[in-house]
């Protein structure tokens, strides 16, 4: 079983958001980066579980600059066998990233390609579907459970107000949502071993960008909270009706 896990880095949730260069760039000064939780907790761990049960290899891939190596090493510390980093600038479009992953996957002939359900910074939820289309393989989004028997996977996925259960044969791609696996914390041995595992840096292929950031803005400031006396719920109901107009 050859498994590929796409890992990205994102600012920690508690990051204070600000912009640079006339609001055309995200200000990375002092930002703490983490591995995207969906990639780390669910996608990577489920891939490792499959490898432990069935044998094979788990490779991670990241598209980004050398600064991402810290996050990549964490993936190796959790248990991936090797890693690929496509040496690309920060903040490329989803299409650019997808193209790089698709190029590298062609060479690797992977049975399953794992994505997170979305990155928690740009919330794109696009790259998995793009890569699947570029490789002409099925894509199952928001997988919350996956079992594999021979070459057939049974997957539960989140849909509006419920779950869908389906079968699909390898090769395919999926995006991982909560439930697919349980978070693993890297141990000392894993961290030591990660230093010696291969991290192959490869050049990107050329891609013409189709989408670019024109500018960033902060959401309009929230008006102060209107406090209502805990005894007077009629007042709340009246405000929800006549002021907020939501009931």
């Amino acid at each position: 079983m050859k498994l590929l896990v796409c890992v990205s880095k994102t600012p920690d949730t508690t990051t204070k958001i600000s912009f640079a260069n006339n609001d055309t760039e995200f200000n990375t000064q002092g930002v703490q980066y983490i591995m995207n939780p969906y990639d780390e907790w669910y996608a990577l761990v489920r891939a490792l579980e499959l490898k432990e049960a069935l044998g094979g290899t788990v490779t991670t891939i990241n598209v980004g600059p050398a600064a991402n190596d810290t996050v990549i090493r964490k993936g190796l510390a959790i248990g991936a066998d090797d890693a690929i980093r496509v040496d690309a600038p920060e903040n490329c479009s989803a299409y650019y990233v997808a193209k790089q992953i698709a190029e590298q996957s062609k060479a690797g002939a992977y049975d399953i390609i794992f994505f997170g359900k979305e990155t928690i910074d740009y919330n794109g939820a696009q790259i998995g579907a793009m890569v699947a289309e570029m490789l002409d393989i099925p894509f199952i989004s928001y997988a919350t459970k996956m079992e594999l028997a021979a070459n057939t996977a049974t997957i539960s996925r989140d849909i509006e107000g419920g779950q869908e259960v389906l079968e699909v044969d390898t090769p395919f791609a999926l995006s991982a949502a909560k439930g697919l696996a349980e978070q693993r914390i890297p141990n000392m041995r894993g961290i030591m071993m990660a230093k010696r595992k291969p991290l192959n840096v490869v050049p990107p292929v050329d891609v013409t960008e189709k989408v670019s950031v024109a500018s960033y803005a902060l959401p309009p400031a929230k008006k102060d909270c209107h406090y209502i006396d805990a005894e007077d719920m009629d007042k709340l109901v009246e405000l929800l009706h006549s002021e907020a107009k939501v009931i």
Binding site: T13, T15, I17, F26, S93, A94, Y95, A98, I120, D121, Y122, N123, A125, A129, M130, A132, E133, D136, P138, F139, I140, S141, R157, D158, I159, E160, G161, G162, Q163, E164, V165, L166, E167, V168, D169, K178, E209, K210, V211, S212, V213, A214, Y216, A217, L218, P219, K222, C225, H226, I228, A230, E231, M233, D234, L236, V237, E238, L240, A244, I247
Partner: protein, 316 residues
């Protein structure tokens, strides 16, 4: 031409379909063209999409169960056939597995979760919330064809016309590589991502046996129930109710948060709600900073009182 793909789970068009056509209609007016709607599979009463501005409805029969590869091929083929330059999809679970595929097929730029009509003054610019609602980006799509998915509960459906004819789309339906075994949806309540009114509770409720007053409130309002993550993790509430960064992201008109502290990971999934009411006994609870209306008090006293007030209001 603007092409809107409207999904139809179990053969039914939902509010998100009407929102998408309304959006497509307005976008078409901006660039001076028409909007066509596309449905896939067996759909009840698809002609109703004309009411929201579709000049025609196309239907691709023979693909009743969802496979992102098959659906994307159909959408892209129809887009080519009718010469669509803008393709609109709802940003729901279906849209999320389709957007990227359709974009690749059409060699188009794509933006997901769009919350504004296109600004064509300088290019083709659409807005999207990023960093879980903590910032807004203006994206410029520079390719000839553009594929966008629109955020839910953002563009209220508007009736502008009447029913139109439904025609066969006349494109090939490729064979599916996905075998759907079961579809289990909660019946009788509006699913969280579509709900306009949401009543949510957290660890402050203390015990799963105490949820009666929360459910009663939801029932009086016709709201869907939600919860914070720890409450789902310990099994007090079902997992599909968990909202936040790792759970469902929602944007209802009204979000009532009861006994929830307002941790940043919780806020990430709910801070785009239009009106937020917070009920918490701790005046320092961080949630009050994100609230429109705040009630400092014991939920076991406040919620029953609120239930009475709503009953009275509904009766009047």
């Amino acid at each position: 031409m603007v092409l809107v793909y409207t999904s139809s789970p179990e053969g039914q068009l939902k509010k998100s379909a009407f929102e998408a056509v309304t959006y497509g209609y307005k976008a078409a007016q901006i660039i001076g063209t028409e909007v066509l709607a596309l449905t896939i599979g067996n759909v009840d009463n698809a002609g109703v999409l004309g009411q929201y501005g579709a000049s025609k409805v196309l239907n691709a029969a023979g693909a009743d169960s969802f496979d992102s590869g098959v659906y994307a091929a159909i959408i892209a083929d129809v887009a080519q056939k009718v010469g669509a330059t803008i393709i609109v999809i709802a940003d729901d679970s279906t849209g999320k597995s389709l957007l990227g595929r359709v974009a690749v097929r059409l060699d188009a730029g794509a933006v997901s979760g769009v919350k504004s009509l296109p600004d064509t003054a300088a290019g083709f610019v659409v807005k999207k919330n990023v960093f879980s609602g903590k910032a807004i980006v203006d994206y410029n799509i520079s390719s000839d064809k553009k594929v966008i998915s629109i955020a839910g509960n953002t563009f209220p459906p508007e009736v502008v016309g009447s029913d139109v004819a439904v025609e066969a789309a006349g494109v090939d339906v490729p064979a599916s590589r996905v075998r759907i075994k079961e579809v289990n949806t909660v019946k009788g309540t509006v699913p969280l991502p579509e709900a306009e009114l949401v009543v949510s509770a957290g660890r402050g409720v203390k015990d799963p046996g105490n949820w009666g007053i929360i459910e009663e409130l939801a029932e009086h309002l016709g709201a869907t129930t939600a919860c914070s993550r720890p409450v789902a993790d310990v099994g007090w509430r079902p997992h599909h109710e968990h909202v936040g960064q790792t759970g469902v992201a929602i944007r209802p008109n009204l979000y009532i948060a009861i006994g929830i502290s307002g941790a940043i990971q919780h806020l990430a999934g709910v801070n785009q709600s239009k009106t937020i009411v917070v009920i918490n006994k701790d005046p320092e609870a961080p949630f009050f900073k994100a609230a429109d209306y705040g009630i400092v008090g014991d939920l076991f006293e406040v919620v029953p009182r609120l239930n009475e007030a709503i009953k009275k209001f509904k009766a009047s």
